[in-house]
């Protein structure tokens, strides 16, 4: 099966709308305008940000701190908004 966008004719199309390119390959991090930055000094490891991330782009490291996966984080800012200690700031990309 090829990537659907590489197909040219209906004849190449599978019967069902399937693609063996999983959504993991869709790096939505490129959509980001604001970048969440975690301040480990302020963070109390409550993991509310981890629970609130709508794109499963936050993981928790061995020490209990949140690690943001910038490959997929779209920069929506929910984590920063929900953080009870304002430990996450949203910085403009490209600065």
């Amino acid at each position: 099966m090829k990537r659907l966008e590489k197909l040219v004719s209906i004849k190449d199309l599978p019967e069902a709308p399937v693609s063996n390119v999983p959504s993991l390959n869709q790096k939505t991090g490129t959509w980001r305008v604001f970048r969440p930055i975690v301040d480990k000094e302020k963070c109390i490891k409550c993991s509310i940000c981890w629970r609130c991330c709508p794109d499963i782009s936050i993981e928790i490291d061995n020490e209990g701190f949140p690690i943001i996966n910038y490959d997929y984080c779209k920069g929506c800012g929910i984590c920063a908004h929900e953080c009870p200690k304002t430990a996450i700031s949203m910085d403009r990309e490209g600065k």
Binding site: E5, L13, A16, P17, V18, N20
Partner: protein, 391 residues
């Protein structure tokens, strides 16, 4: 092969059992409940090795069936009326994802007012969901069609879901003699389901993700229609194989009964066909040339077959046990459209038996008389007539 007395509901459960359905997700509703009760019993007794999922609604039942089907499990569900229309959204998803689910639907009227009795509106209003639709006349046909549907739906050329309608009470709760085929023979007839695109954690797939207008949406829709066009030829082949294996003959999308020399032919679907056949026998004994065509299948609609079957008929009465409000009976619309541009005979629509109102030989005799009177005057007084309305 064992012959037993059983209801249509039990026959549907046996159809799923003999087909070795692997996942069953269903929600009970009158008059379908016995189908899921029987299947639950088969599973708990170890007679059917299937995953039986208790879900909280018909919507969830269909969602579970779609996902299960996409992992490569042979999937069955059953519902009726309100349950079917609650599933509506996911019916589109099932065909769009090309999941070959087979479903028994006990045809029942929709509320309000509440009615648990037969009507075809529940299934007719699923016309555009991309499902193959069968309407059964007997319990034997319910069982046999379930088995044949898996072979049809899972075929690589088809990959579409199908629903089999059985009339509330007239089939669902009526006991008739049913021949239960041998499991070994069914196994031979029906190979294991091999999905074209199985969901597998080792080889991830994405199914049904976004398609922008410039990408592939129309093409996927076009492919569903191409598959639909292959359904009837494939069905004919499968029925031939079925006949060889089990000795029971089915006649494709239509069943013709005494139409050869008939002046008036009625077209009908579902269990009430039996009563029309009985009436034909009575009238034929009096030398009146009548016949009946049973529409076994509503989607894909067998236009070509009907045009051929109706080519020598002077008058057609179309019986709809459902209604498209603001217009006319749905079967009537389709048949008129099929005959458009041809040298069409006179054709009249009868709306009969809604909400389970009994269709008797008297009702049908009256309809034939009505047709002959129109034929004699070469004029149709009321093109769409509701029969047995209390005035």
């Amino acid at each position: 092969m064992v012959k037993k007395i059983m209801t249509g509901n039990i026959a549907a459960a046996w159809g799923a059992r003999l087909s070795r359905a692997e996942v069953i997700a269903a929600y009970p509703i009158t008059p379908q409940t016995i189908i899921v009760e029987k299947l639950a019993q088969f599973v708990s007794d170890g007679e059917l090795k299937a995953e039986y999922l208790h879900v909280e609604s018909e919507h969830s039942a269909m969602a579970a069936c779609i996902a299960a089907s996409q992992t490569g499990a042979r999937t069955f569900t059953a519902t009726s009326s309100q349950g079917l229309v609650l599933m509506h959204e996911l019916l589109h998803w099932a065909s769009g994802a090309r999941a070959p689910i087979v479903m028994a639907n006990v045809n029942r009227a929709l509320a309000p007012p509440w009615s648990v009795w037969v009507e075809h509106t529940d299934m007719m209003s699923q016309r555009d969901t991309g499902w193959i639709q069968f309407y059964a006349e007997s319990n034997q046909e319910v069982l046999d069609t379930t088995i044949m549907c898996y072979k049809l739906c899972e075929d690589k050329d088809i990959q579409l879901p199908a629903m089999i309608g059985l009339d509330a009470f007239y089939l669902s709760h009526t006991s008739e003699i049913v021949d239960i085929p041998d499991q070994e023979k069914v196994d031979k007839f029906l190979p294991k389901f091999e999905p074209a695109y199985p969901l597998d954690v080792e080889n991830p797939l994405s199914i049904g993700s976004l398609s922008m207008p410039h990408q592939w949406y129309p093409e996927f829709r076009y492919k569903i229609q191409e598959a639909m066009e292959r359904v009837i030829p494939k069905l004919n082949k499968i029925e031939e194989e079925f006949y060889k294996e089990f000795g029971r003959k089915y006649t494709g999308p239509l069943e013709l009964y005494n139409t050869e020399d008939a002046e008036v032919v009625l077209i009908i679907s579902g269990a009430a066909t039996g009563t029309v056949k009985e009436t034909v026998d009575i009238l034929r004994k009096k030398g009146i040339k009548v016949g009946v065509i049973r529409l076994r299948m509503f989607r894909p609609f067998p236009s070509d077959y009907l045009v051929k079957a109706l080519s020598k008929i002077s008058f057609i009465g179309v019986i709809d046990r459902s209604f498209s409000f603001g217009h006319e009976g749905a079967i009537y619309s389709e048949i008129k459209a099929s005959l458009y541009g041809l040298n069409a005979p006179l054709i009249k629509n009868f709306i009969v038996g809604m909400g389970g109102r009994d269709i008797t030989t008297d009702t049908i005799t009256k309809i034939y008389e009505n047709c002959f009177s129109c034929l004699k005057n070469n004029k149709i007084d009321i093109p769409v007539e509701w029969i047995d309305i209390k005035v």
